[in-house]
């Protein structure tokens, strides 16, 4: 496809806007009172941007793009690939993809599609992702490749789709999902030319992620205690896919003593639920802080649900490992796109019985239907329990900040009473 000079100029303009967004957010973060130099690692990863070739260079192996956390990361690692979850938090990048997309749509993927256009323009055929792995979670994820094509991006890389059963509890759907995981294994084997199953590599990879999860759990506990603030929690978890998991883990470990030294923040504890939060759009995290609310728990797939961890298995054969991964990533997932999801709501409510938080803030990105639909269920259930709930509907623009802040401030008052 030929690119006109005008298109190029638009692209470059948007690229510089994206850079500005990132720089602005990073300088905001660096000026914070709870900034310390160990956090530079994460900020540097994020400021280097979502360029596939940069990431591939950094991790020193081919990068496979994936759209959702439903595909076991351990498998990619076992086949010598680096999994990178595609996301977008840039408002500027959305302007590149918007003309070819529905008006009401997930702002995250709109932005991601814009960023991908920028990336493919610079990476060309030599760089880019080695393959695409797309689990069919929400409608936006199902239609992703189509949208990418509509945005004028031809994908020449292999694509593997995983059909996600939207029922978790039935034996039949668990069986089907296990087949899908076998399918992914075969795909990765073909892709990397390692057709012979390598049980040992998979077990080692799982052990690495288990260890990373342990470190991540320590970080989560610091959030529970109010020592890790919302914005940093997002920064650290967002940078997870930008580097080798072991390096990231070591960097997180280095921050732990620093966060432990910090005094616990004041303000009522809240549970942040709903659509994910992605750098550089930390608007909601900043507003929550400005309103004096302290996020101690969340169930965002961008932070606490980053990777499942805790994959127990008592059958160390290759089949046993794949089965454990399949089950852990499927039936343990709390994404709202599932049909039998009572456990998701339960999991939000149950920490309140132990007085771990005082209210729930539910963020919906406009166009994110599964979360929007579910917010009604959650509101009803929470109110039945006598708990406070606020839903904030927003997108990546900043013009509603004042309105949101007013609401969050008033919400804080209701938590005090």
């Amino acid at each position: 496809m030929t690119v006109t000079d005008r298109e190029n100029r638009i692209r470059e303009k948007i690229r510089s806007r994206c850079d500005e967004e990132v720089e602005l957010e990073i300088s905001l973060l660096r000026q914070r009172k709870d900034y310390f130099p160990e956090l530079d690692y994460f900020l540097d990863l994020l400021s280097a941007g979502q360029s596939s070739s940069v990431i591939a260079g950094r991790v020193g192996r081919p990068v496979a793009a994936l759209l959702c956390l439903q595909a076991p990361l351990e498998l990619f690692q076992a086949y010598g690939l680096h999994p990178f979850k595609v996301f977008g938090g840039s408002q500027a990048a959305s302007r590149l993809s918007s003309p070819s997309l529905p008006a009401v749509m997930c702002p995250m993927l709109r932005s991601a599609l814009g960023l991908l256009q920028l990336d493919s323009a610079s990476a060309g055929d030599s760089g880019g992702f080695a393959a695409w792995v797309l689990p069919t979670t929400c409608d936006w994820a199902v239609k992703f490749m189509e949208m990418m094509a509509n945005c004028g991006q031809e994908n020449r890389r292999p694509v593997h789709r995983l059909e996600l059963p939207h029922l978790k509890d039935r034996d039949e759907s668990q069986g089907r999902w296990l087949e899908e995981i076998y399918g992914l294994r075969n795909f990765l084997g073909e892709l990397t030319g390692r057709k012979k199953p390598d049980r040992g590599a998979l077990a080692r990879s799982m052990a690495v992620y288990q260890k990373a999860w342990q470190v991540f759990t320590e970080l989560t506990m610091l959030k529970r205690a109010g020592r890790l603030s919302g914005p940093w929690s997002v920064v650290i978890s967002n940078s997870f896919f930008f580097d080798d998991v072991q390096k990231w883990m070591a960097a997180v470990e280095a921050t732990l003593p620093k966060f432990r030294e910090r005094p616990a923040a004041a303000g009522p504890e809240v549970y942040l639920a709903g659509s994910p939060v992605f750098f550089p759009n930390l608007k909601i995290m900043h507003l929550l802080e400005d309103a004096g609310l302290k996020v101690v728990m969340d169930d965002l797939c961008s932070s606490e649900r980053l990777f499942p961890g805790a994959v127990f298995f008592d059958d160390p054969s290759e089949h046993g490992l794949l089965k454990a991964l399949a089950q852990r990533y499927h039936q343990g997932c709390l994404c709202p796109s599932f049909a039998d999801n009572d456990r998701r709501i339960n999991n939000i409510i149950s920490p309140s019985h132990k007085a771990l938080y005082r209210g729930v803030v539910f963020q919906v990105l406009k166009g994110c239907h599964p979360f929007d639909l579910e917010s009604m269920t959650l509101e009803r259930r929470l109110k039945d329990e006598g708990l406070k709930f606020i839903k904030v509907e927003t997108d990546y623009t900043s013009e509603d900040s004042q309105n949101l802040l007013t609401r969050l401030e008033a919400y804080r008052r209701t938590l005090d009473s």
Binding site: Q214, T217, G309, V311, N346, S350
Partner: protein, 323 residues
């Protein structure tokens, strides 16, 4: 120390005491609720099933005599109270430790765990039993329980020869396998007398062969069929040691089900009740230990919580897993 490690140590101690205790004058009686085989010469405490089968062969005699017009109620009561002196001990120890007799103390259970370890070390795939089939197989233990009661009773009626008193022991794979650990290969082989014994010995060898294969490819396969478990199950409402669930805190990740040595589903499926003691539970508490949801599964002794699942504990446990 993790529960896993603690259990492993306890299992080996129990194995040593129950298998070699006789040499050191340890005698824990004959009402032990696990397969501690009395055919071992130095057995430190006998499997209650043997005493139970024996009791079945005389317990109803005075009653039958009474029906025939002989004997007296006094004799019936005397026999019965004698039976209760043994059964009572069994009941008390079962109430104390519940199913954990199977998972923590049973020597035959440990033998099965060794076989599982061997399979795991060889990285061989575990055989899978679908839920539907498992439900059927697991019912067989009640059939076996009925069998081990019916046979000695029939002996007492004179319908069967005395060889049928220990009808279950005669087909129990622990009988030929456990004495091996004290160097006794006596029960391994076929007796060629042409009577009931030799039929039993052929049957036993077939069963043992099948069980060894089953136990190697499926963790604790015999437990699924064990009539001791069926007998312990009868006291289920009274256990002091048990696993409880807070269904609201459950994320549904399935760790408990995968961790379960019996592949039970109850702890994973349960959405309302706190009681998740499955009839096939062996009381090992792997479920609570592998659960990464804070407070979702807990081990209780009477009213006291002695362990509660937590994300942190699970994180530490899993970080130790060797590839």
């Amino acid at each position: 120390m993790t529960i896993k490690r603690f259990r492993l140590v306890t299992q080996h101690l129990a194995f040593a005491v129950l298998t070699y205790g006789g040499h050191f004058k340890i005698s824990l009686g004959s009402a032990i609720p696990c397969l501690s085989c009395p055919f071992i010469g130095s057995c430190g405490g006998g499997c209650y099933l043997m005493a139970f089968q024996r009791a079945m062969s005389w317990l109803f005699l005075p009653l039958f005599q009474l029906i025939d017009g002989a004997g007296s109620w006094e004799q019936v009561w005397q026999t019965f109270s004698y039976f209760l002196s043994g059964f009572g001990i069994f009941v008390i120890v079962v109430i104390l430790f519940g199913k954990s007799w199977c998972g923590w103390l049973c020597p035959f259970g440990l033998l099965q765990d060794w076989m599982t370890r061997l399979r795991q070390a060889l990285k061989l795939r575990e055989a899978e039993l679908s839920n539907r089939h498992k439900r059927v197989v697991s019912k067989l233990k009640y059939v076996l329980l009925a069998y081990l009661i019916a046979m000695p009773v029939m002996v007492s009626l004179g319908w069967l020869p005395r060889d049928f008193v220990l009808a279950f022991c005669n087909i129990c794979p622990a009988k030929p396998l456990m004495p091996i650990f004290v160097g006794d290969f006596h029960h391994l082989g076929i007796t060629a007398n042409g009577d009931a014994r030799s039929i039993f010995s052929i049957l036993l060898m077939i069963i043992t062969g099948g069980m060894v294969a089953g136990m190697f490819f499926k963790e604790r396969f015999f437990c699924l069929l064990c009539p001791m478990m069926a007998l312990i199950n009868l006291l289920k409402p009274f256990y002091l040691l048990k696993v409880v669930k807070e269904p609201e805190a459950c994320q549904g990740c399935g760790n408990c089900r995968r961790g379960c040595c019996m592949d039970n589903e109850t702890s994973y499926r349960e959405r309302i009740k706190p009681n998740v003691y499955d009839p096939d539970c062996s009381g090992c508490f792997n479920c609570a230990e592998s659960c990464a949801s804070d407070g979702s599964l807990a081990v209780k002794f009477g009213p006291f919580k002695i362990f509660s699942s937590s994300r942190r504990y699970a994180a530490k446990l899993f970080a130790k897993v060797k590839p």
